[in-house]
């Protein structure tokens, strides 16, 4: 599933995806933390059939009901609070980069000052992986740090 992100100046960010059933769904994350869920009209794909406005609390409840976690939302607020903080989800390639190597092998921390904060493998989240943690193809690695550091860390990870 592809999620597309569009900035809405003065309002927040809109995320958009097509569900497997064919419906286009949009989520607006407002600057004040409120969320709108919108269902696009099949006749007029630019407009919404309806929207649901959720408070921050409602949104996390709905996220739990849908079986998700709140990591993304919390990270969002975090990057708002620390100016210049960059957060990137890096998917490990089938081969090359650090795939099948340990995090320590990449010397990411020493060379780029960025940190590997968590690894998501399948349905499991592994917070704070040790340097001897071996990365596998398809793992999603959460990297944090300055924008340049995260960029160089990403190229180390993916090769």
């Amino acid at each position: 599933m592809n999620i597309y992100e569009t900035p809405l100046p003065g309002i927040g960010v809109r995320y958009e995806f097509q569900a497997e059933g064919g419906d286009h769904v949009g989520v607006v994350v407002r600057r004040d933390g409120k969320r709108d869920i919108a269902l696009y009209d099949r006749e007029d794909p630019d407009s919404c059939k309806g929207t649901v406005e959720l408070s921050e609390g409602d949104a996390s409840k709905v996220a739990e009901l849908l079986g998700g976690t709140n990591i993304t939302a919390r990270l969002d607020t975090l990057s708002h609070m620390v100016e210049g903080l960059s957060i990137e989800w890096v998917t490990m390639p089938a081969a090359g980069g650090l795939t099948d190597k340990t995090i320590g092998d990449g010397r990411i921390r020493t060379e780029t000052s960025a940190s590997v904060v968590a690894v998501i493998r399948g349905d499991d989240g592994i917070p704070g992986p040790e340097p001897d943690f071996t990365l596998r193809a398809g793992d999603t690695v959460l990297v944090m740090g300055g924008a340049d550091a995260v960029r160089s860390a990403t190229s180390i990870l993916t090769g």
């Binding site: 599933m1 592809n2 999620i3 597309y4 992100e5 569009t6 900035p7 809405l8 100046p9 003065g10 309002i11 809109r14 995320y15 958009e16 949009g26 989520v27 607006v28 600057r31 004040d32 709108d36 919108a38 696009y40 006749e43 007029d44 794909p45 630019d46 407009s47 919404c48 309806g50 929207t51 990591i71 993304t72 708002h80 609070m81 100016e83 989800w89 998917t91 998501i120 999603t140």
Partner: protein, 423 residues
């Protein structure tokens, strides 16, 4: 007479009754605004045109005289315009401004030319000075981001695909205003061409400085006023705002412009806090500003400008619609969405009044006030109605009886959208 009147003046009594009269008038005005605000909400139109109308029927040539409180109203209106522009400047983050400039500058250019030129031309046709005509160009150019943002929310169109285009045009207009307002402020002082050019250069320098501060040092400015206590934050922000606005006024860049540039400069946590803290205060004083603007206008002066204002409203409604449709089409929006984009840009409001207010305060052109009042009254109301019924009004493509073409497949353009891996 004089001998009898004099001793009365030194008595403290009239003083206190004057304060009472001011409070009574202010109370009546605020209550009228409260009632009008409810009426506007019921009718589904913005409150700005009704506030203007309230000002028009009060004061000189109106039905309700306002005399005692006029002095306070004048100060209140000035505070109102400063707060309005501070929050307008705050509306977009430096990042929004940067992205806006990058992505939609062509549409922004069309927007500027198509909507400012008719205003300028009509100003000249009415025999106004070039400066006054330039002000009118600003009035017709700038859409009301206040009205539009609120209506997008009310009509649940925030998630619509055309909405980023509407917003990015509003961002462009905001940027243009940052350059336009200081230049006009300088021209209004009545400088010669050379003086004007130098002063405009200085003004642009200040704008550039404000942008640099906003991009590089905004956290320093923000730390200066930031506080966890709402009271201290409010005092800090208001103090800084009034100080900057007053200093800007002292160097003849106009208080409104100073506040606007300060708004552009603030960002981060302080900007977020101010955005939640100041709107109620802005609404009260902003309401007073619109009333005061109407108050300064004799409704009888509206009659001679009504026809040209109506004609200009019609022309600039069409040019705005065209601008919006063009921009939407370029971004791959379907016909219905293009139509909604165009109609969404029609409302003019607070910014137009602020621009005209600068001219009125400087005595640029006696007709500018009434003309702008009539123009904004028409387009604030008509524009919001057009926006509301956008889906019910058939777009021009279907006017010839042709069946509308199939909706475009609206995949978001990959250039703007960022792909996020599933988590």
């Amino acid at each position: 007479m004089l001998a009898i009147a004099l001793p009365l003046e030194v008595l403290p009594e009239p003083e206190t009754s004057h304060a009472g009269a001011v409070l009574i008038e202010l109370g009546v005005i605020l209550l009228v605004l409260a009632v009008l605000g409810r009426v506007a909400a019921r009718l589904g139109i913005p409150s700005i045109p009704l506030y203007l109308l309230a000002g028009l029927v009060m004061g000189d040539g109106g039905f309700i005289p306002v005399s005692a409180g006029e002095e306070f109203l004048a100060v209140g209106a000035e505070i109102g315009v400063v707060l309005l522009l501070l929050l307008l400047g705050l509306e977009y983050s430096p990042e929004d401004l940067r992205n806006g400039l990058k992505s939609n500058w062509a549409a922004g250019l069309l927007d500027g030319v198509a909507n400012a030129v008719p205003g300028f031309a009509v100003g000249l046709m009415l025999g106004w000075s070039p400066t006054a005509a330039l002000l009118l160009a600003g009035v017709t150019y700038i859409s009301s981001s206040g009205i539009i943002a609120r209506l997008l929310n009310d009509f649940e169109r925030v998630a619509n695909r055309e909405t980023p285009i509407v917003l990015s045009l509003l961002v462009m207009e905001d940027i243009v205003m940052a350059v336009f307002l200081p230049i006009v402020a300088v021209l209004l002082v009545g400088a010669s061409l050379l003086q004007g050019a130098i002063a405009a250069g200085v003004a642009l320098g200040i704008v550039a400085l404000a942008f640099v501060i906003s991009m590089r040092f905004s956290h320093h400015v923000s730390r200066l006023v930031h506080s966890r206590s709402r009271e201290l934050l409010l005092l800090g922000v208001l103090g800084l705002t009034f100080l900057v606005a007053g200093l800007a006024d002292a160097v003849q860049v106009s208080a409104a412009v100073g506040a606007f540039l300060l708004g552009l400069t603030l960002s981060g946590q302080v900007a977020d806090d101010v955005r939640t803290l100041l709107p109620p205060l802005r609404d009260v004083f902003g309401g007073l500003f619109f009333v005061f603007f109407g108050l300064m206008i004799d409704p009888r002066d509206l009659i001679p400008v009504l026809l040209p204002a109506l004609a200009l409203a019609l022309v600039t409604a069409v040019t705005k619609i065209y601008t919006g449709m063009w921009a939407a089409k370029r971004n791959g929006i379907g016909p219905k969405g293009q139509w909604r984009t165009g109609l969404s840009l029609v409302p003019r409001g607070e910014f137009s009044i602020v621009i005209a207010g600068l001219g009125v305060a400087a005595g640029a052109e006696s007709q500018l006030g009434p003309f702008t009042a009539a123009y904004v009254l028409i387009l604030a109301v008509v524009g919001s109605l057009l926006m509301r019924f956008a889906d019910k009004i058939p777009p021009p493509g279907t006017w010839g009886g042709r069946q509308q073409s199939a909706p475009s497949v609206a995949a978001p353009s990959p250039a703007r959208a960022r792909h996020i891996p599933p988590t």
